[in-house]
């Protein structure tokens, strides 16, 4: 068991770790420089690394806070009473990780004890690991150049979501879950709200000293209905845009109206007939297409996958460096990698290599242009600088290449959703996330959805059920013949993106407009 008592003098023992973290990360409003105490701690790792002949060192000191609130309502067995099960929980972790390059190899070590002595000790541990790794290192690590920054960056926000009262948040969840449950035929409902904050300090031997505050808000509504005679259970969800924002964003989630909508739609879903299998045209709404984009465009354009560094788990990619300049999608498809998109979950000031955030083109009118890269990868495809895609999910984990926000450019302003639907004789409109699965080179995928509507003769008809579609990625993106205009463009996030071994979790956003795909293989599921 480790406690700060082992490392700190008596004068600071009265303070909790949370208080220490709060002090360290505190800064006057609009401050543009990191806290002096963080810079003092960071400098210890950088100086210590020189003793081990490290050619590079960085340190991240991180405090993560999560607040999870929920309300689940269900019918009590044998009575007409409704049972309510709330969740009111918070988590906090605080620690640091040190990365070094010694003898051309990486070493990493971390600790939950943020003290000067522990930072020095852990830097030594990282150097020992690097030396051991260097014995089986085919080529020395080569880092792309980066500018030195001294900066303080925050997610743009007006109101700190953690400062808002728990009562106000629980009231929102109570009224929303009760609104869904107002129809007695709805078996169960739930409403959740999660807040996340990441305070992060980064210092490197390149001369950078960067403090960041990243704020994220997620919400969810769920409705469940059961037909016991038919032996069927169905659900309907509302997942508002998960956003990097302050509390001022929450009213935009519009829980009330959407609670009423899914209350009716879950019952429609329960009675909906199954889809008829076959080749059909699809309209994929932004809250569905974001995941298809994530799995079949964002992941295969990660350079570490393409070069075999993820071969043992996440896999490789159907896209290789030889694909640069080649067509992989129709002319309608232009995709941007972006760590600057407003309110997107992957938006930061700087990545975990200390590279300033930017945007770059991944696919230009169907032609593959750029991989996602980090500093150690850029030279592998002849790039002079990194696209800023390095990230670790905690102070205890190693930064590596993670996807930025990846979004699809909207179509012409005059293209509406009705225009897209109007051009379909036999198709399906898919809304929301369902099950999703894709192979280890990102070729063959199958996606379900949360709700489905039949399209016949150019009109959206009634709800159908049990829909999934299967496709081969390059064929699917070539089959796109239109995407709606900027007025329809929406951005949705995903908060559980897993990659790496041991697995790390990432949060990013994907924006797009409703988009049409022709002649896709649709199947009926159980």
């Amino acid at each position: 068991m480790l406690t700060r008592r082992h490392f700190l003098g008596a004068s600071v023992l009265g303070a909790s770790a949370a208080a220490l973290a709060a002090d360290l990360f505190a800064a006057p409003k609009d401050s543009k420089t990191p806290s002096a105490d963080l810079e003092t701690l960071g400098a210890i790792a950088l100086a210590e690394s020189k003793k081990y002949k490290a050619t590079y060192c960085d340190i991240r000191i991180v405090r993560l806070r999560d607040q999870r609130l929920g309300m689940r309502l269900s019918a009590e067995r044998g009575t007409s009473k409704t049972l309510a099960v709330p969740t009111v929980a918070e988590d906090s972790t605080f620690g640091f990780g040190v990365r070094v390059i010694v003898n051309g190899a990486w070493g990493f070590a971390s600790s939950p004890l943020v003290t000067k002595e522990e930072i020095a000790r852990v830097t030594g541990e990282a150097a020992i690991i690097a030396k051991a790794n260097a014995t089986i290192q085919p080529k020395p690590i080569q880092l792309a150049p980066v500018k030195a920054y001294r900066d303080r960056w925050e997610t743009p926000h007006e109101k700190d979501p953690f400062a808002v009262s728990i009562q106000e948040k629980l009231e929102l969840l109570r009224t929303s879950s009760e609104e869904i449950k107002k129809n007695q035929r709805v078996f169960g409902s739930s409403a959740t709200l999660s807040l996340r904050s990441e305070d992060k300090y980064f210092a490197s031997t390149e001369g950078s000293s960067i403090q960041q505050l990243i704020l994220q808000i997620y919400g969810n509504l769920d409705a469940t209905a059961i037909d016991r005679q038919a032996g069927i259970s169905r659900s309907r969800s509302y997942v508002p845009t998960q956003a990097a924002a302050g509390w001022e964003y929450v009213p935009e989630m519009n829980f009330g109206e959407n609670a009423r909508r899914i209350r009716e739609e879950v019952l429609e879903h329960l009675a909906a007939p199954p889809v008829k299998e076959g080749k059909k045209d699809l309209i994929l709404m932004p809250n569905h297409l974001m995941l298809t984009l994530h799995e079949s465009v964002a992941h295969p354009t990660e350079l570490d996958r393409a070069l075999g560094y993820e071969a043992n788990y996440a896999g490789t990619s159907y896209i290789t460096p030889a694909t640069i300049g080649k067509r992989i999608a129709s002319d309608h498809i232009t995709v941007i990698g972006d760590r600057t998109s407003p309110r997107a979950l992957g938006t930061v000031g700087y990545d975990d290599d200390g590279v300033k955030s930017s945007s770059f083109t991944i696919i230009d009118k169907g032609i593959f242009r750029n991989f996602q890269t980090t500093r150690e990868q850029a030279h592998l495809v002849g790039d002079k600088e990194s696209h800023g895609c390095s990230q670790a999910d905690s102070w205890a984990t190693v930064p590596f290449q993670r996807m930025p926000n990846v979004w699809l450019k909207p179509g012409p302003a005059e293209t509406s959703l009705d225009d897209l639907i109007g051009g379909i004789e036999d198709g399906v409109l898919i809304d929301g996330r369902g099950s999703y699965s894709i192979d280890q080179q990102r070729y063959n995928f199958q996606f379900g959805g949360d709700a489905f509507w039949e399209i016949k003769g150019g009109k959206k008809r009634g709800m159908i059920s049990r829909v999934a579609y299967q496709a081969r990625t390059p064929d699917f993106w070539q089959a796109c013949d239109g995407t709606a205009g900027p007025a329809y463009w929406r951005q949705y996030g995903t908060t559980g993106d897993a990659k790496g071994e041991p697995t790390q979790i990432n949060s990013i956003s994907h924006g797009c407009s409703p988009t049409r795909f022709r002649n896709i293989n649709v199947l009926v599921t159980d």
Partner: protein, 452 residues
């Protein structure tokens, strides 16, 4: 790492800090060492310690919880205060049950000290063995070797206390042709790092890689399959959610009968299918308590083809007058409790004998990206990976392209014809269980994947 004495002292300190009538504390410390390799070199390695103390306090049926990762007096005091502030604001929980009193948790202690303290010097030789074998065969190796040591503590104000230590390790490797035209996989979880056979794993992955080169396109359709033990476990373990007594009685699982009632005590699987969880199995010991903090126990879920038990968490057991036997911890999806202790009893045929009995079928090494398509029927989809072969007249004849599958563990077990001996295996998506290789008919492989 936390000792039993430190755990007792720490938990008592937290409990004494709380002014609420009910306080439950859970402490977890995990030390992990790993070395990751790819393209025949080490890419990352780390030694890290994570610890957390989670405090849940309850008054008047209202619960708040707070977790932090510093164990200093001031931090613990603040964590308790935060939990109490949250509880004061929380609405009452309609399904709240009184705190449990003292429990007698069985001792499940099979920690191997050498595994628990292994670092790079003990792991790098395994990595060298794999990479040297790959280089000798002009192939490219990637993989992971890791070990973890955990201590888990639970305690409450009414005298409950539990302490559990464990250690585990695993090595997995994927060996590919340099031009990316073939891939083979092998993996071994082991409670003892010293029992990991890296030379054998390298040989298996290399053989699969060399043998899988230039796979043919076999028509999609329903096939008889031989699932190697890892592939069988990848799917079979997903049957757990369907055994939730609450969900089943509410009409939401494959064990719910149309119009009401359940399939409990009905025979729906072949005679030789027995599925059980046993936290005391020395081959795969697991937690001595369930998610509800009741003592874990061995339970048979499918007994010679008959649905023998449903999983009752503490709340649902109380509500229905049954004995709690698993699940809990707020996991409405069910689960058997004592995670990681699931066993599908095996047979006696070797993998070669299973293959020899198949006239025409597909041999599958392991599965990937498995996702639930229908939570009620447990229909899953995913893909085959790293070694898929055509079997003709009892022999492997050709490598075949990977397939997407669309099948439930329920139908898989119903269609199972033969079993090999059960082994402890762990799939890519983390599920650990004792599973045999098996032969099953009518396994849906509806589309081809071009992935290598």
């Amino acid at each position: 790492m936390l000792t039993r004495e430190e755990a007792q002292k720490l938990s008592q300190k937290v409990l004494a800090l709380s002014t609420f009538p009910e306080c439950q504390v859970s402490v977890s410390t995990i030390e992990q060492a790993y070395t990751r390799f790819a393209n025949n070199g080490i890419t990352t390695a780390s030694l890290n310690l994570r610890q957390s103390v989670s405090i849940a306090v309850t008054r008047d049926g209202k619960t708040g919880s707070y977790a932090a990762n510093d164990f200093d007096d001031a931090s613990l005091k603040e964590a308790v205060k935060k939990a109490e502030e949250l509880a004061a604001l929380a609405p009452p929980n309609s399904e709240r049950l009184p705190a449990l009193g003292p429990q007698h948790y069985p001792t499940i202690n099979d920690l191997d000290p050498a595994t628990a303290k292994a670092k790079a010097p003990e792991m790098i030789p395994h990595v060298k063995t794999i990479i040297e074998a790959a280089l000798k065969a002009k192939l490219v190796a990637a993989g992971l070797i890791e070990r973890s040591r955990r201590a888990q503590v639970v305690a409450n104000k009414t005298g409950l206390f539990g302490f559990q230590e464990s250690a585990d390790s695993q090595l997995t490797t994927t060996i590919r042709m340099a031009d990316g035209s073939s891939s083979g996989w092998a993996g071994q979880p082991s409670l003892r790092l010293s029992e990991i056979d890296s030379a054998k794993l390298a040989a298996v992955a290399i053989e699969k890689c060399l043998r899988w080169k230039n796979p043919i396109r076999l028509d999609p359709g329903n096939y008889t399959v031989v699932l190697e033990a890892t592939a069988a476990a990848d799917l079979v373990r997903l049957i757990q959610g369907g055994f939730s007594a609450r969900n089943t009685e509410e009409g939401r699982t494959f064990l719910s009968k149309k119009g009401g009632g359940t399939l409990l005590r009905e025979k729906i699987f072949p005679d030789f299918i027995t599925l059980r969880s046993d936290p005391f199995d020395r081959k795969q010991p697991s937690s001595p308590w369930t998610g509800d903090l009741l003592p874990a126990k061995a339970v048979t879920w499918i007994d010679k083809g008959v649905v023998a038990n449903l999983a009752y968490d503490r709340y649902w057991a109380t509500k229905t007058g049954k004995e709690a036997n698993g699940g809990g911890g707020g996991r409405l999806g069910g689960g058997f409790g004592g995670g990681g202790s699931l066993t599908l009893d095996g047979g006696t045929d070797s993998l070669e004998q299973l293959i020899a009995g198949v006239e025409r079928g597909v041999l599958i090494t392991h599965l990937w990206y498995i996702r639930n398509v229908n939570p009620q029927t447990l229909q899953q989809t995913g893909l085959t990976r790293d070694g898929t072969f055509l079997i003709e007249n009892g022999k492997i004849t050709q490598p075949v392209m990977n397939f997407r599958f669309l099948e439930s563990p329920v139908r898989l077990l119903k269609n199972t014809k033969k079993l090999g001996p059960a082994l402890r295996v762990r799939g890519l998506e983390g599920g650990m269980m004792m599973a045999p290789s098996l032969v099953a008919t009518d396994f849906p492989l509806p589309s081809i994947s071009d992935a290598i």
